[in-house]
Amino acid sequence: MARNIQIVKISDITRFGDSLAKSIRANLKWSKKLRNKVKLHKGKVNNNGGEISITIADGDPNLQGMARAFEFGSGIHATRGTRKKYLIKPKNARALWFYMENPHPKIPLYIKGGKIGVVLPKVLHPGVEARPFISKAIQSTISKATEDLAISVRKNLIEELRIVLKDIK
């Protein structure tokens, strides 16, 4: 029977993914919410190589939006698409409530949970500045991880060839 030659092993691809996931978590020190939602999935290998996926905020659309906004910037700070303020309207309540330092005297104030905030029917949000954590992680990891992967592939290839040659003898 012809052997399935695997030049990339699951352990190699998992190690590669793990170093990238670690780097993403390290870059997300400023957001516990996002950091805790970085998930490394199982690796898969076939005769052509392997694949592994990392998800951030899987199944949580609000957090996904936050991750995207910080990775690429949003609103007037967007690094992709058009730069403009975006409208936020209340979904489940009649008005928006949030904390604001030195609010305009004409804006109504409302106390919620002991905190004073402003009440507005809608806002034009300027967006957030980009704090890229994925691209930064890729840049810092890729060279070392690729080098490690290349060493593993070389080692696996030699091992596989040794087995094939032994079978021929």
């Binding site: 029977m1 699951i10 793990d18 996931a21 998930k39 490394l40 999935h41 199982k42 690796g43």
Partner: protein
């Protein structure tokens, strides 16, 4: 041909039978994509990755090869528990052959294909993996 469900059930049965190893005894052993909603940790998951059926021209017979992974999940702060359970499973299975009487499957000498050290899957979970290969047949 031996079906995927039969092979998977035989592996789960074997893992459950590793009772003398105190750590493994009380653990939940199921298939990897089990669609339940109650999980206890640590737990063990089995993933049947390939089930190949081939005709051996030299021996003039049909052969069946399987590759499967055993995943160990733990929620401890350190990866120690995860690695300990994996070591117990490796020591119990590598080089061994076993037969499942209930599922009517015989596994010839299990070969360890790969061994993945514990990694952080997400904020709370450690995951380690060991991949096995074996030839299977009817007993």
């Amino acid at each position: 041909m031996l079906g995927d469900e039969v092979i998977q059930a035989a592996i789960v049965e074997k893992l459950k039978s590793l009772a003398p190893f105190g750590l493994v005894q009380s653990m939940e052993v199921r298939e990897l994509s089990w669609q339940g909603d109650t999980f206890t940790y640590p737990n063990i998951r089995v993933d049947l990755e390939s089930n190949e059926w081939v005709f051996d021209e030299q021996e003039r017979c049909n052969l069946q090869y399987v590759t499967f992974s055993i995943y160990i999940f733990s929620e401890q702060r350190s990866s120690k528990e995860c690695s300990q359970i994996k070591t117990l499973i490796i020591n119990a299975l590598v080089g061994m052959g076993f037969t499942s009487v209930t599922q009517q499957v015989k596994f010839s000498r299990l070969r360890m294909v790969d061994n993945v050290p514990a990694i952080r899957e997400d904020a709370n979970t450690w995951r380690s993996q060991v991949q096995f290969g074996s030839r299977i047949s009817n007993p």
